[in-house]
Amino acid sequence: MTPLGLFQIVLYFALILAAAKPMGAFMANVFEGKRTFLHPALRWLETLTYRVCGVREDAEQRWTEYTASLLSFSVFGFLLTYLLQRAQAMLPWNPQGLGAVSPDLSFNTAVSFVTNTNWQAYSGESTMSYLVQMAALTVQNFASAAAGIAIAIALVRGFARQEQKTIGNFWVDVTRATVYVLLPLSFVAALVFCSQGVVQNLSPYTSAVTVEGAKQAIAQGPVASQEAIKELGTNGGGFFNANSSHPFENPTPFTNLFQMFLIFLIPGGLTYTFGRMVKDTRQGWAIFAAFSVMFLAGVFVLYHFEQSGNPILGNLGIERHATAAQAGGNMEGKEVRFGIANSALFATITTDASCGAVNSMHDSFTPIAGLVPLFNIMTGEVIFGGVGAGLYGILLYCIIAVFIAGLMVGRTPEYLGKKIEQKEVKMAMLAIIATAASILVFAGISLAANFAEKGYWNAPGAAIANLNNNGPHGFAEMLYAYVSATGNNGSAFAGINANTPWFNLTLGLAMLIGRFLFLIPLLAAAGSLAAKKRLPVTAGTFPTHGPLFVGLLVGTVVIVGALTFFPALSLGPVVEHFLMNSGRLWS
């Protein structure tokens, strides 16, 4: 680890810390319907949306209605995204003349972009027309992010309100999230990216003749407008296959820092929004502290192991130590401009948040460094987390943490003055078990599943024939796919060929389970919480804003994550680490 590398990590964290309060206070005002400095410029767009969509701004919804609206929003989002891909060959803005996307891939991609996963079984530059990138994928980048924020706000209202039947209005929350938060920030960010070299045009690919006389077709497209919301909405689906490692998506270390900043900007801010809405900002900072502990631990572990590099390559006469003129370490799958430090930082951030953008190839990480992204997603992405998803995920862990604490002292648990009873704990456990089961069951089946070679379901034959690596690394590749899909992350150990009907279908189902079997129990809990009375604080109340609670919360996240997945992690990265150090290779 180099001093400059460490400094950049600290600098990044300082920026996120500094932005949390202003961003959070702004979002609290937006969702409480107060006027902000953006209202003079954008209020017309908000009211226009309500008029066009037939929404009454002052109408409130019960949790069941809120959920129905969310599902309707998602179903129509899915349908349009699916249809646009199937029809792209007949539609304009397709200068490369790309053909219709196959039905199974269109299903997978539509689910992926509706669930804020943005898992991509395709290469953007050779599969999706500009129209699909804009009107289908960019739109869902906004929509799925806005839905995530809305749900988090609804859950917060569950804690903030008492003896009420409603938890807000889904359409109003989605509209406000889009109009005042996502759209203006994306517009500014897109122009910043353009000014640095991210492309934004509708031209066909440029044909170049290189210095040595070879032909090179340079892919183009409306990239910057998608790049901005890709990070800000923790979506993570790249315009190009190589995602944020592609020089046209992320050309400089400055754009890299800006992208990382955008990823944590809303999740960090929402902790403060939460504190403001429950009228005790210390509660928000406690969650921010728990996030920070887990985030920094992950970064430093990952950075250490990537900088140490691969001993097998070191034996070939390659420099493994960083010097002033080169980065050393494990540079396979990394860009020179980012080096080791910024690749490690980005990989941690993108898997802490449910972003999934990558600026280095996680598949080529050394084993323990590759374990960190896996583990981050396995926690349910509650380390800052996705926009909205991080906050509602950690609140679920808060419910479990106070439940465990309550069991230890023999008192009915409370959180923010709300009694945590059977229903809330059941809903929280349902969410955790559904996602863990999705990961382990689907990955287990795929590791064993056999298919006819050249058949419909998986042309290469057995599902493990789609892996790019063998041995424990191949196991980790398969595990990562279902972890990423279920966690709605979207990053990958990208060597796996996941564009076959079997993988498109099962990964699509995993994404649906990970999104909706997590969300719906939470909204149910929000409904039941909102109806409860708030209890007064007494000497016996367990304070949920101090270091003791932060420790308990981190412990709950780590233990629930680690115990559930420890066997799987042992069979993959852990065993690979020891075998790598003893020089073992797989052909």
Binding site: F73, L257, N470
Partner: protein, 195 residues
């Protein structure tokens, strides 16, 4: 319940128009006026207007008189911007070790004057397969070969490298680096007699 569901279709269509057409076109319009060079791919052109490549995208160089880029997994021949990709080889994959070994052997053979440990970036594939940069150390490791192939003094090449090194952004962000295409074009301009 229908009152809660119907707005889904209407808001989806409205968002498709506003966010899927309006917003990207607005960004396109503003960026085409404000940053036309960058918004169109930072293209480098010859005097006759034909395109050599992009300042941001790497390209293959194999001749000894040019600095060579990193190995690339983009497309069959490398540096294909229509199929950007890393190798996605894990650390215990024999194909990775074999490929790196081949790169190391080739480099040693072509650069007999360089005897130190090879910089890691020079024999590993980048994440995008389009990495336009190599580290300053990787450029210096090739300096003797380039000088010999061009019949110019090694110090002249060293000077060109020093001029081509880009420092970390604002002195603190990212890594020092050398843009291979820019350096090779600068070499051709400074010593055009060759070829």
């Amino acid at each position: 319940m229908w009152r809660q569901i119907l707005p889904g279709l209407r808001i989806k269509l409205f968002m498709t128009l506003a966010l899927g057409i309006g917003y990207p076109l607005l960004v396109t319009g503003v960026s085409q006026i404000a940053f036309p060079y960058r918004a169109n791919g930072s293209l480098i052109q010859r005097a006759d207007g034909s395109v050599i490549g992009s300042a941001l995208i790497g390209q293959n160089f194999a001749r000894p008189e040019y600095f060579q880029p990193r190995p690339s997994a983009a497309g069959n021949d490398g540096y294909d911007p229509t199929s950007s990709s890393g190798s996605n080889y894990g650390p215990t994959n024999k194909k990775l070790v074999d490929r790196v070994k081949a790169s190391v052997d080739k480099f040693r053979k072509e650069n007999p004057d360089f005897t130190g440990p090879i910089p890691a970036d020079l024999v590993t594939a980048s994440a995008s397969g389009l990495d336009p940069h190599i580290s300053p150390a990787s450029a210096r490791a090739q300096a003797a070969r380039v000088a010999k192939a061009r019949g110019i003094p090694a110090t002249a090449v060293e000077t060109m490298i020093a001029q081509a090194v880009e420092s970390p952004d604002f002195g603190i962000l990212g890594e020092p680096r050398v843009n291979v295409l820019a350096l090779n074009l600068a070499l051709d301009r400074a010593y055009p007699a060759h070829r």
